[in-house]
Symmetry: C2
Subunit: 126 residues, 2 copies
């Protein structure tokens, strides 16, 4: 891919710990050269753990550590990276009470993704 310059998720300036600091800026999403939102979305969702993260938050908020464990103990590095991207995309956010949860948009997206579950069950039988 010489396509779009890759990753850089702009780990915010390491400003210690302060809840709801700011959504962490991030690049305009790969694969969005055409400007077609669907491509940007497919690219965003096509990054490792992204779909899984959304899925795990489908019916509850989770702290960063709980989220990590829910995702088969994925590396905190990548979970944080993905979370930053998803926050930048306004699909997920750190809620005031603590823990990550889906935003309204995130819930909308999940609504679309939910049928995947049934499909997966059918699909299992080859």
């Amino acid at each position: 891919m010489a396509k779009t310059t890759r990753r850089a998720v702009a780990t915010p300036p390491a400003q210690g710990h302060k809840r709801n600091a700011r959504p962490a800026k991030s690049p305009p999403v790969r694969g969005s050269r055409t400007g077609r939102p669907i491509m940007a979305l497919l690219d965003l969702l096509g990054r490792r753990w992204t779909l899984r993260i959304l899925w795990e938050l489908r019916e509850r908020s989770l702290t960063s550590r709980a989220l990590r464990e829910a995702c088969d103990d994925a590396s905190p590095t990548i979970i944080q990276t993905r979370v930053a991207e998803l926050r930048a995309a306004y699909l997920l956010d750190l809620n005031p009470a603590g823990g990550y949860g889906l935003t309204a948009a995130g819930k909308e997206l999940l609504e679309v993704l939910l049928p995947l579950h049934q499909f997966a069950e059918r699909w299992r039988k080859q």
Copy 2:
């Protein structure tokens, strides 16, 4: 991830070129430790270009090269890898006339994914 051993898509023994040779074996999909199909599916779809490939084939078959171009000229290596995985998952196949197309299951999956398009349009407006 010490999770599941990763990739190995078993580039078949380089048996020259013979159409519809065999679906190319592939590992049981990462993230499937729990055996829950949804996890396997999310993992499969969460690999780079997978969603895009399915999307590009949504309404037409494409030759390997055309598919590659449709995917922002992604590397043939990765396209072939993804195609092999998707064939192993019976979501896509090389049709006798040449070119790749979705299988029945693949079309079912796409049916589920189509609403993503509308969501993406709404989502664009932050």
